[in-house]
């Protein structure tokens, strides 16, 4: 067997009908181009949408929920031990929103090797006083640095400087919708009233835009210390601890562990956003399905062209066989032709796919809900290129297999006698 000779013959046969070859190759090129562009775009979009949620969501949240105590006295009573006890209208006890012993919990979390970072948080419902009208809102007390590092807080601050939250005492960052309602600009003072009736002036140092309009109409941020001051609470008052893990998949287990260990409520991200992963998965599935369909269609194109080529080259096949080329040689020649089309078309497809992705990446995509995004998102993941190239080779191999086998089995006597 002489692979170079096989290669040479294949090349000559291919180039002899270069237009036909080109048409077949363009089919592959087109499908690979679309495959790459589609998947890059879809993955980019998925990443963006996931990021929209995941960037701002803690992997594990520790908090205290106000709820009725599950251990009601009747259940403890020995007289009703073996009965079903139906109690209606159970009221919540006088439990506090505060995470108990937050200082010690934070110390313990910082030592945990699985934890990549944590951010304390205080939620304070307030009224913003706008002349005679009170607008309900929420001030979230955050540690600006931790929040920025873990949840990209800075990216959503569209005006002003987020670090002023710590530097300027009594400062607030207003949600963009809220600021519009209050007609508040940078440096203005807004007045808030807490649930307890305390009145408080706060200086506006920035605006926050999450992209979720309803949220931006009520949300605002202040530093932990300011929020504690508004609420009249001591310095260890914290209503929530947000924890980010190195491995997100551990979140459910970690949440269960913390709930037991710290005797608080703990919620993991998977429970909180179960529908989210499903959406990403289905979108990815659809784009792969479309991409692979494109490749299969291209495969049929190659199959047809090879079949035609074999009919045209019957004489050549007969003479090759008569002069000493075996069936497997001829089979190999046509396999090389098919793979040649696949590799050539596939390589061009990868290039064009990359260029198309670049082009999509340049298209402006400005939307109020995504302040950090200026153009359509593209994920330049090498895995797509790997899948694209291996699938183009696989499809052409499959498309070439049957025609090549047929060519290998052609009986030269039938051809020569047929003249």
């Amino acid at each position: 067997m002489n692979p170079l000779l096989i290669l040479r013959i294949s090349k000559s046969l291919l180039l002899a009908r270069w237009k036909q070859t080109l048409v077949a190759a363009i089919g592959v090129t087109f499908s690979i181009t679309m495959f790459i562009a589609l998947l890059s775009f879809m993955a980019g979009l998925n990443e963006l949408l996931d990021g929209l949620m995941l960037n701002r969501t803690a992997h594990v949240r520790l908090y205290n929920e106000i709820k009725p105590n599950p251990l009601q006295p009747v259940n403890a009573s020995s007289g009703f031990m073996h009965s079903y006890n139906f109690i209606r209208s159970v009221k919540s006890g006088s439990n506090r929103l505060e995470v108990y012993n937050s200082g010690a919990i934070i110390q313990a979390l910082k030592k945990d090797r699985r934890v990549s970072g944590l951010a304390p948080k205080i939620t304070a419902p307030v009224f913003f006083n706008d002349g005679a009208v009170d607008i309900t809102g929420v001030i979230t007390g955050v540690d600006e640095q931790a929040e920025g590092k873990l949840f990209h807080f800075n990216e959503y601050v569209v005006g002003g400087n987020p670090s002023d939250l710590e530097n300027v005492s009594g400062s607030i960052i207003l949600g963009s919708g809220l600021a519009a309602k209050l007609m508040a600009g940078l440096g203005d003072v807004v007045h808030v009233t807490t649930v307890n009736g305390t009145h408080f002036p706060l200086r506006v140092v920035g605006f926050y835009q999450s992209g979720i309009l309803e949220l931006d109409k009520v949300q605002s941020y202040a530093s932990i210390a300011t929020t504690q001051k508004i609420l009249g609470k001591p310095v260890d008052y914290i209503t929530e601890i947000q924890v980010k893990l190195y491995d997100m998949n551990q979140a459910p287990a970690v949440a269960r562990e913390y709930a037991r260990l710290f005797a608080t409520d703990a919620e993991d991200i998977q429970t909180a956003n179960a529908q989210f992963e499903t959406g990403s998965f289905v979108r990815t599935l659809i784009s792969y399905a479309v991409g692979i369909t494109l490749l299969i269609v291209a495969g049929f194109g190659i199959y047809n062209i090879l079949n035609m080529m074999i009919y045209e080259k019957m004489d050549s096949i007969a003479i090759l066989k008569a002069t000493g080329f075996s069936g497997s040689d001829v089979n190999l020649i046509f396999m090389v032709i098919a793979l040649g089309i696949g590799i050539f078309g596939g390589a061009l497809g990868l290039l064009f796919g990359f260029l198309l992705s670049l082009a999509i990446d340049q298209i402006p995509f400005v939307t109020a809900s995504l302040p950090a995004v200026k153009t359509y998102p593209i994920d330049y993941n090498p895995v797509f290129y790997f899948i694209g190239s291996s699938f183009s080779i696989f499809t052409t191999w499959l498309a070439g297999w049957a025609p090549a086998r047929k060519a290998g089995r052609i009986d030269p006597v039938v051809i020569i006698r047929g003249k």
Binding site: N2, L5, I9, S12, L13, L15, A16, D315, S316, A318, I319, L320, K321, A322, T323, G324, F325, S326, G327, S328, D329, D411, P412, V413, I416, R417, K419
Partner: protein, 227 residues
């Protein structure tokens, strides 16, 4: 067995079974010595082409035995038979059957490259020698489909010669040529047989061509009636 017997057919029979059994070849037995120039003649449909395909190992559906260079061809794999054709048999067909995608020199070189007994350089030199021997060296770089019928047939002969085969088989080599070109081709064959002791087996219905060969095998209805 004699040393100089190139090809031997013993009791070769072949039938077509579709739709009824028809005997095409019946008990064909003969042998060809080295350097012989043999013509197989007979009317159309007497089975001479069928016999040629069997002798050339391309058709394996027959009874009896075929020996080429003293070796039995029966029971060999398709790959082994291809090797035998490559190494020991040269072909010239009625319709010249050159590969249109290749130049003349490449056409001639292909079987040599397949055999790989020589380097590419050597094969090229040999190919040019063969072309020169047949007086068409100047056509070497032309595309095969730019040639006239007579030229194509000479290229086909050059290709048949490239591996120094022990026998050259021809199927109506002059069937598609005019008088002048037929003469040229015949002269080439004659010269090959006489000067180079090249064994030749030619199937033809060209009476004049056959008359000038050294030996005639005449067939009728699948049998050899005279040899």
């Amino acid at each position: 067995m004699e040393e100089n017997i190139v090809l031997q057919a013993s009791h070769i029979c072949k039938s077509f079974h579709d739709p009824v059994k028809v005997k095409i070849l019946d008990d064909i037995t003969f042998s060809i010595k080295k350097g012989e120039f043999v013509a197989v003649v007979g009317k159309s449909g007497c089975g001479k082409s069928t016999l040629l395909y069997i002798l050339s190992t391309m058709d394996t559906d027959y009874e009896g035995d075929l020996l080429i260079g003293g070796e039995v061809m029966r029971g060999r794999s398709e790959k082994q038979l291809a090797r035998v054709r490559n190494e020991k048999i040269g072909f010239v067909f009625q319709f010249h059957y050159l590969l249109a995608e290749f130049t003349v020199i490449e056409n001639v070189m292909l079987p040599g490259l397949k055999l790989a007994a020589f380097t590419e350089e050597q094969v090229k030199t040999r190919a040019l020698d063969r072309l020169g021997q047949l007086g068409i060296r100047q056509l070497a770089e032309k595309k095969a489909n730019q040639l006239s019928g007579g030229e194509k047939q000479r290229v086909a002969i050059a290709r048949a010669l490239i591996n120094d085969p022990s026998i050259i088989m021809c199927d109506e080599p002059t069937g598609n040529l005019d008088k002048k070109n037929s003469l040229v081709v015949f002269d080439i064959f004659k010269k090959l047989a006489e000067e180079h002791q090249q064994t030749l087996l030619v199937v033809t219905h060209d009476e004049e061509f056959a008359k000038n060969t050294q030996r005639i095998i005449e067939m009728e209805d699948g049998r050899i009636i005279r040899q």
